[in-house]
């Protein structure tokens, strides 16, 4: 991929000032290799700017980033001693005492609120992780990403200070690991650039949850996270992503997955809320027999914008991939699904399918859905499809004819539509949380169309 794109919007002066401060702070000898990586990334990003061009900008064709680019977000400098108490967090975010949880406030690790892992895995904040397992960090930190860099990954690399380093040893199956990212209620626009690295050893089994929650409805935050997953032979990772930041916020999430032989990456992504919420997932099946199952549910209302940009690349034979996304759109909201499956020459006996189904609840809601296939190998089975439809009136009538009132019928219909993705979440506490959020959203969504 070439980044020599049409002109974007250059970052505001705040970004440049914050970058200078950051570099001057981290001049320790130990940090020099990171400082170098940062410098290169910043130089490149400062040149390119935000990809706001409305022409010749394929990756951002349906998502106009101008509203994000025009805010001069300042790098968050959270005072973690002012982090909320656990009670408030449990009320807002998914939680299970049995999980290993790393809590971050504006991207900064909050030890006081976190719950350490057992001895069967490493789950540390990035600073501690670099000290404890520099070997893993150096081996992987830029490796997955290097394959396919983009503007926001550059920006993240320039500013990444904190995040998580997770290592699941060969054969281990530790308790679920939750990375909880809280956006603070700051009065000025703030940004953070967390970085997560997950290395799953041979034949290990793990559950990873990334969740993003705003502490206030009013704050304006820009979270730009890069998460890298490296799955060794036979590893199985169940990945969950819960995006619940507020309606004033911007979220760019880059999930990069690199899979070796017979590994399995299952992912369920749930998103609702943001002014712009982007879910970039790029998977490379780089050995025989690898499998990935990507599912997603986005529920948008008002002026929200949700964008899923998914790619799965089959490099080697006998790989399997499924993409199953669903959208429920109300108000004046806009959602995007662009998914591609690439089957490289030689990736014979690939099975891939791709589905994006949308339920439009209002006239003002808009979906751009574009599943696509690029098949360069023979002897493969690939399917794709997309639908977008309004609530079916015959179905509603059928339900009413059994005594359900209009709103109950509509809620049940929306609920059912959502549950086909939500049911894929197998962690009970997380499943309850997502079901709860859907239940909370339902009345507003079900009202749509009555107007």
């Amino acid at each position: 991929m070439t980044l020599a794109n049409p002109k974007g919007t250059l970052p505001g002066l705040g970004y440049a000032a914050d970058f200078k401060d950051l570099q001057s702070l981290s001049n320790g000898a130990d940090a020099s290799w990171i400082a170098q990586i940062r410098e290169r990334a910043w130089t490149k990003f400062a040149e390119l700017g935000f990809p706001t061009a409305r022409r010749g900008n394929e990756r951002w064709k349906y998502t106009n980033l101008a509203p994000l680019a025009k805010v001069d977000f300042r790098l968050a400098r959270p005072d973690v001693s002012h982090a909320p108490d656990l009670l408030k967090i449990k009320a807002l975010a998914p939680w299970d005492d049995a999980w290993t949880t790393l809590v971050f406030l504006d991207g900064r690790f909050v030890k006081r609120l976190s719950r350490p892992s057992g001895a069967d895995c490493v789950a540390l904040d990035l600073a501690a992780g670099l000290r404890a397992r520099r070997d893993i960090a150096e081996q992987h930190l830029t490796r997955v990403q290097a394959v396919d860099e983009d503007h926001f990954t550059l920006l993240n690399t320039a500013f990444a200070e904190d995040g998580a380093l997770i290592h699941i040893p060969d054969g281990a199956s530790p308790a679920p690991i939750h990375l909880l990212f809280l956006s603070s209620d700051s009065e000025t626009p703030q940004t953070c650039h967390p970085r997560a690295l997950v290395v799953a050893g041979k034949n290990s089994h793990s559950n990873i949850i990334e969740s993003f929650v705003s502490l206030s409805d009013q704050s304006q935050n820009f979270t730009n996270i890069v998460s890298e997953y490296y799955l060794d032979e036979g590893a199985k990772v169940s990945h969950h992503r819960v995006l619940m930041e507020n309606e004033r916020s911007f979220h760019i999430g880059n999930t990069r997955v690199y899979q070796l032989r017979d590994s399995t990456f299952d992912s369920v992504a749930f998103a609702t809320g943001q002014a712009i919420g982007r879910n970039d997932v790029h998977v490379k099946l780089d050995a025989e027999g690898a499998e990935c199952n990507l599912a997603g549910l986005y529920m948008t209302n008002n002026k929200q914008h949700a964008d899923n940009n998914i790619s799965v690349t089959h490099e080697k034979p006998r790989g399997t991939s499924h993409q199953y996304f669903k959208g429920i759109l109300a108000g004046q909201s806009h959602a995007v699904f662009s998914g591609i499956v690439v089957v490289k020459p030689g990736a014979a006996k690939t099975y891939a399918d791709q589905k994006d189904l949308n339920l439009l609840l209002s006239r003002g809601a808009e979906i751009d859905t574009k599943p696509s296939l690029e098949i360069l190998a023979d002897d493969v089975k690939c399917f794709h499809g997309a639908t977008a439809g309004h609530v079916d009136q015959d179905t509603i009538y059928y339900m009413r004819s059994r005594g359900l009132d209009l709103e109950t019928a509509k809620s049940m219909l929306i609920r059912g539509f959502a549950s086909e993705v939500a049911a894929k979440v197998k962690l009970p506490a997380l499943s309850r949380y997502i079901e709860g959020v859907i239940d909370q959203l339902l009345p507003e969504f079900a009202l749509e169309g009555k107007k």
């Binding site: 059928y398 009413r400 004819s401 059994r402 005594g403 359900l404 209009l406 049940m412 086909e420």
Partner: protein, 255 residues
């Protein structure tokens, strides 16, 4: 007092310029089974749906009095709650909603309307599982989404399942027999017969008299071009079987 009294019913698709039903009269007493037969396109489904209150049909004249109350202008859920049930010719598919979830919601709505306590999940499961077994529905099917991937026969059995659990005062069965093999037809008919009682009435809407071999009607009406052109006893169905609808269509033409 009759359970259902339809007088001079005229109805059309909302916004259309022509009535489909053109003056239907029908009286159904409690406990009776009526059959409405007629050729394709004669308005049978329209009649069934106008009774049930389908929103995109408009009544242009006449009355529907059910259990002493005028139904014209009332929403479908109110009719259902007061004891009307329509088994659909083409039941809707509802992704992600299990058949039992749907039925439990319907039963709960009914209980709430009548001011009775809702069945507990345990009570409901028992009732549900027994009824599923009675009708001979494959229990695996019930783990799927409602009507999704069901065969025609399975959909019809599922309608009868709802009938048996909801216990309406009046059940309108729209082509419940169409597309069924003999086993399914027998199962569906047995389901209907098991529900016959002195305080429950049926309107069996059908093109063929096949189902009437198993569910013997008290009255048979022939609907042609939106009007009942002849009424009689169970024999009338046999007569249709022998002569077809041709003769009745001619009758209508001379009206």
């Amino acid at each position: 007092m009759p359970l259902l009294e339809v007088k001079n019913l005229h109805a059309r698709v909302t916004g259309a310029d022509k009535d489909i039903l053109r003056g239907v009269h029908l009286t159904v007493n409690a406990g009776e089974v009526h059959a409405i037969m007629g050729p394709n396109g004669s308005g049978k489904s329209t009649f069934a749906n106008v009774l049930a209150g389908r929103p995109d049909y408009a009544v242009t004249d006449g009355n529907i009095v059910f259990d002493g109350k005028e139904l014209v202008g009332t929403p479908p859920e109110d009719r259902a709650l007061s004891g009307m049930f329509l088994a659909f010719q083409y039941p809707a598919e509802i992704p992600g909603v299990r058949p039992w979830q749907f039925l439990k919601a319907a039963l709960d709505a009914r209980a709430q309307f009548e001011g009775r306590p809702k069945l507990s999940v345990r009570e409901f499961s028992k009732l549900y599982e027994e009824t599923v077994k009675d009708i001979g529905i494959n229990p695996d099917l019930m783990q799927r989404s409602l009507n999704e991937g069901f065969s025609g026969g399975e959909k019809k059995r599922n309608e009868v399942l709802q009938l048996k659990v909801l216990k309406p005062k009046l059940a309108v069965m729209d082509e419940t027999d169409s597309g069924l093999d003999v086993d399914a037809l027998k199962a569906v008919s047995a389901g209907i017969n098991s529900m016959r009682s002195t305080d429950r009435s049926f309107i069996i809407v059908t093109h063929y008299q096949r189902i009437l071999e198993y569910v013997t009607p008290d009255r048979v009406h022939i609907l042609v071009a939106g009007r009942i052109v002849q009424s009689g006893g169970a024999d009338l169905a046999h007569q249709v079987e022998r002569t077809g609808y041709e003769k009745f269509i001619k009758t209508e033409a001379t009206v």
